[in-house]
Symmetry: D3
Subunit: 248 residues, 6 copies
């Protein structure tokens, strides 16, 4: 069901890491995509929130005592454990925990393993445990909050991985490009990633210019969105090498 | 992942249709199963709420404009449409719509088709549309409420069917026995169905006796749970053919 | 902590059963009482919702596996079981279950015992189980909804009874007069019951007159609230024996 | 701000009263309108829920003790009271109470006045009081639930009327056509009313035909949405006078 | 509808900036005002949360595709853009977004313009976008959280400005004095501002004294609220020039 | 109802202060206790969140204007004020405010008094006021958020103290050991405290070892949970004095 997942170009990744999730949702909205930003998630550390990479998904369902036995969970091929070794470097693990806040599906050892495996980030539609320890790592984790109780056996089971899931009200297909910053997480369809990264980068350059105009007193009317005159001024500013001060 | 699904014996089905979901959750709790009753669902018609049958599941994720095009949705093999023809007679269709209340994943034509196909019931973790028309049919539908807007294209997509899903906070594995009454819906693991149906039927016979005792003035202490003396009295009552009046 | 609880006069009870909870909240608001109506509760049967009687309270806390053992629960003096026999006739049992919806603290046998004991009603800040069976009885039960799972051992414990509790956001002191109708439940302080019953009865007589005026075309301005002229007309109508047709 | 409000044609009103809100949301979605169905509202009586008429809006804000004095509220020109006399016959009063459930902005006398004034319905984004009495009238009221406490002075104030408001997550402009049935309430922009009524009526005729096909065993694939062959069959059925039995 | 808005005295503003919102709600409660603190809002930066100034309000309703076209939104006199230029210096922009969390009604360029215009703060009953960028500015913004998606066209429309609105469950009349600190936002009616600022300042001086007493071991009984003896001690402390150490 | 409360051993307290709440919930789950972590609470300051001590509980019910008069509240023996002086040193005050967020039951003076009295922490199932001032103290307070309005008279009353209460969905018996860290708060039954502290301390030593293994590339399979080989390696590491680098 996922679109073909050609590797993400270095330049695209760099641009996605440089533009905000707000800009990306605007670019996606222009292309007809309305539900792209995950509602209700936040980074554990706002100063360690930026990431961009292809999605690798994990699906959780409520636990069942007759099925989710200790034997099953400790099996080497249990999906949650198997997934982490199947996930290629640079990917973002996305866990669909259906928004449950009473327990955390993973803790600091799991996050350390993700980090060692070269993962880009962890995104959880639910709570995380060991959040104080995770806050001390330099690895971006976005989730709905903190909950100490462990989940396996009592709350969650993992039936499969790398299927399309829902996270924060957004569909995530394996291979979609997931991007995060301190505001939250946005999902970019794989086939739009290059185009949206480029257009987002352009939009932010323009907005930097508009910010400079507004900072020195320009009214929003005429400036944001820009009039033809302001657009011409902008193009001149770009050609002039984007000087830090406006020539008033 | 689902346990083997031998056909449900006629006697088991009859007993499950005769006992309440309250009794079944008690029997399952005794066997170590804690999350078996779907929270937040109710029948559209309280006088058309009873059913029992194996689960046939449908999973929904949020729609995505670049994937869920009209072409895809109108394809003959679109999972939601394909599922209804793949579902064997007597089964219960369980739709995991993640609790979304802004739209309904199905309406009266879909329900009519389920009825014609010999389905036992429809259970939806979300809203339904055409609820006034469905209330006029004699087919049990349990859901979270009513919402007129249709979902395909704007809200939901159906990536697959007959996978384990979550519904009302409970895991549903294809083939699990789903039972409903006016109180709500309970999930009985397939391999426990015979045992639980039998034990539930016994429990309700005992509770009918206790109700008769309490109705004529017995205190709860000693009667509920029953003392040894009351148990003896009960056994005598059963042997006497369960007379409608107690011999005081 | 409860005010002295002199028996409720027959006339007061009759009047409380005749006026609506809407009228009673207005009368209590006039006397400075703002939080008197229970938010979120509804009768299981809207045609079996009316009651009035002194409160007898039961407090629930979350269950704890090391304390709430089967032995404790089956003891004859376990508070939930003891309370029902300690409760005087004509009282209303009020259960503070902290709004929990995942399980029901009582079912049909418990309600039958309440009925046999001459209780006036059962009011539950949470769900009830066996609601289809209870809907077939003629005993008023107000609660937040239906949930089949039983609670003792897994969810709730009962540490004491006849203490002040919270129910639907309202304080309930033992002996307070609790009144219900199809709209919901209101708590009347014991010492205000006679006065509020009388004033409410008067208010409704006036509102019947206003309804008649409005039904034949009177504007709200001048009529509701009534002008001096309408008040005079009202007094004449009362003196004339409250005729069914207005003398226009 | 409202579009010009030419009177609603008799034929349009009749058709809107005959089609379901589910059909209307589909027709509006086809014309690019996504947020048209009010989420969370339900009729007080499901058998007295149908209506169609132009919106007449009332806006509520939280009460303020220094402004919303008894004097102000009893003034003849207080907006809530003035509005009811300013509202033309056949209109639907829409009250934006911001979803508040702790009190009701109006009760049975207000509803009686609406009925006498020839209003089509009352739609409230919040609770209503006197719901048992209103359930005994033959006047459609849709709201979020019941709450006995009155609101003026303690909860709500009415700063103005006939301004654009929000109700159930939908914008309502004065003059918009508001339509209700047992499922809920939909808002139809005035300038689309004729077109949508006509198209909705056509859609439901087609769906009646599809229902008949499905009832006798047609698969959803090919029938719903209809294939070219089924469309031809449908047109023949219409030309044949829509016979009650299908010619198989 | 707003009370006359004489300019806010420098001294009053200074005192409002020096007392906490907790103290102000207490002072307003003493004067009969109960709903004055906005529930659910928090500053984007707790170290940039203090402000005081007259309210300038903006009202949002759900967007409608047939009305809120790109042409309308880009018009020079669109209310959201017009409002920012109409707002006098030192005012607080209050946006009633009905608590919606799926999108942000404004971002960093809008906030920069507010800052350049000399606004005192921005208060939003909903989410904000560009929150990481806003967190880097020195301008107080209080809201419900972060959401990257832009709203105009898809979610919100702005029908008018400087009307009474609701924000965090509190009525805000244009010209009301809005005060914020790290705890949240309180609304002070314009005509009470001087009095409440003065009394709040007095209250906090007394509480500083009580804090000193409690810090060296005074019991709450007798000290908080203060007995006559403690009051006398307090007055002596004030006369002595409020020394930093208590004379024990 | 509470288990006997022998004083907490110094060593147990030290160990509880050294292990995480995540570890403690795991240890309690192993001993059959499922509901031990308070859902929805967080520390006001994440860097001042650690504490461990016996519970001293305070119960709140909604205020009632005819009972909770100013005279009662100012009485020297009002439970909230009396409790603080009755509470032994080193205890944790637990306030059951039923999750109410509209007001705070206590502020900075109350917290200062707790600190002076040698309390270990304050845990509130509701909001706190004066949170900016409390954030400047070095005293751990966990709650649901901030709300400036004071509660007594308008919202809460305190009927008793040191009874079993509910807090964050967990039962708290007086004398239970309450432990907090930046993740939240866990309740340890008094009689399990020594055992759980010891086992938790052991578990964390093992997890430090596993973290080291994972940090240098060990897969989760075989390492977490540890295989027999890894367990042997772990025991060797312990015997070697827990060296900071693994001998690979």
């Amino acid at each position: 069901m996922a679109k073909t997942a050609t590797p993400l170009a270095e330049e695209t990744r760099d641009r996605l890491l440089a533009v905000s999730t707000a800009t990306l949702t605007s670019q996606l909205f222009k292309r007809g995509l309305r539900r792209t930003f995950m509602t209700g998630l936040a980074p554990i550390r706002s100063d360690c929130a930026r990431f961009a990479g292809p999605a690798f998904t994990l699906r959780f369902v409520p636990a069942r005592e007759d099925i989710d036995t200790l034997e099953l969970l400790n099996a080497d091929d249990y999906p949650q454990r198997a997934a982490i070794d199947a996930m290629p470097e640079g990917h973002v693990m996305v866990m669909d925990c259906r928004g449950e806040m009473e327990c955390g599906p993973a803790g600091d050892i799991f996050v350390r393993r993700l980090e060692v495996r070269g993962a880009a980030a962890l995104v959880v539609d639910g709570a995380m445990r060991d959040t104080p320890e995770i806050a001390a790592m330099d690895f971006p984790v976005h989730c709905r909050g903190a909950a100490a109780p462990f989940v396996i056996l009592s709350h969650h089971a993992v039936p499969d991985f790398n299927q399309v899931v829902a996270c924060g009200g957004v569909a995530v297909y394996p291979g979609d490009i997931v991007v995060g910053d301190a505001e939250g997480v946005v999902v970019v369809p794989r086939h739009l990633a290059d185009e949206v990264a480029e257009a987002g980068w352009e939009q932010e350059r323009m907005e930097r210019f508009i910010q400079m105009k507004v900072s020195v007193g320009a009214t929003l009317v005429g400036t944001y969105p820009p009039s033809e005159a302001v657009l011409a001024e902008y193009r001149a500013w770009v050609e002039a090498g984007e000087p830090g001060e406006l020539n008033r």
